[in-house]
Subunit: 152 residues, 2 copies
Amino acid sequence: MEHRIDQIKKQLHAQSYKLTPQREATVRVLLEREEDHLSAEDIYLLVKEKAPEIGLATVYRTLELLSELKIVDKINFGDGVSRYDLRKEGAEHFHHHLVCIECGSVEEIEEDLLGDVEKIVQRDWGFQVKDHRLTFHGICKQCQEGSVQLKK
Amino acid sequence: MEHRIDQIKKQLHAQSYKLTPQREATVRVLLEREEDHLSAEDIYLLVKEKAPEIGLATVYRTLELLSELKIVDKINFGDGVSRYDLRKEGAEHFHHHLVCIECGSVEEIEEDLLGDVEKIVQRDWGFQVKDHRLTFHGICKQCQEGSVQLKK
DNA sequence: ACTTAAACTATAATAATTATAAATATAAAA
DNA sequence: TTTTATATTTATAATTATTATAGTTTAAGT
């Protein structure tokens, strides 16, 4: 964890940004909840536990900054809010998501499934791909097996 | 065009919804601007030209309804607004998008590029895919060629 | 220590979307 | 056709997410 923090600190410094205590607290929350897909509000509430004096706007600004530096990715699953997802260490491409329409769970796929597709897009459409967003909507393993509904 | 309207009318009736004049006006705007990716506000303004008495909330409700019936798809390119995109006639799957980070243009890809990928997801993750969202971000042909910037 | 710029808090403002109440239109039943 | 019930709409208020602003604090460089 400290290693990742250091790494991010360097990334910030490289662009002459500082890792302020507020930014660090925010990054720590993101690291601790790496599996989740938290909204700005969620993150704000969690950061507040560590650093109660932090303001919501600071969290937004921090997330915006981390987004620009490609440290986190801002994603949107169609519910009104943006969610923030830490890029995996050294990940070249952004990972994909499987969103279950039954229970709402979100699973991540690290594998690069789009290599071939990107080549086709490049070749047939002349489009130079820089980044991608791929989300599948469907029914997760758990929901298929049990008809146990976890719906809230 | 009338054919598509009729078709949509039937889809609505099948679920015992009516094609009210307001809904029809909205659908007509979507058909006329099929290539575009309009926001609710955009659509509202265009519908107002045909039916000045329509309210914004009605447009939202109509789009919500059309979304549920899979007649349109609600998409989000990361700017704050939702955009609404008519499904192509008889299209089995939702089309993909190429968003240019230089000029902001959005191109559509009709081809199904994800057939293989979906099989892999199904097999290796046990996830039953119902729908997908795929967007590539990068530089479009035009922006690559000329360094003519269309940035606003 | 002094100066400057970046970053912060608190709060107000904005923008997108959703909810509500009253009115209207539509379809079904009598 | 009249009545009744239901769906839909308008107009507007409320909500929610996000961004901007003003004044204050912090930190880095001299």
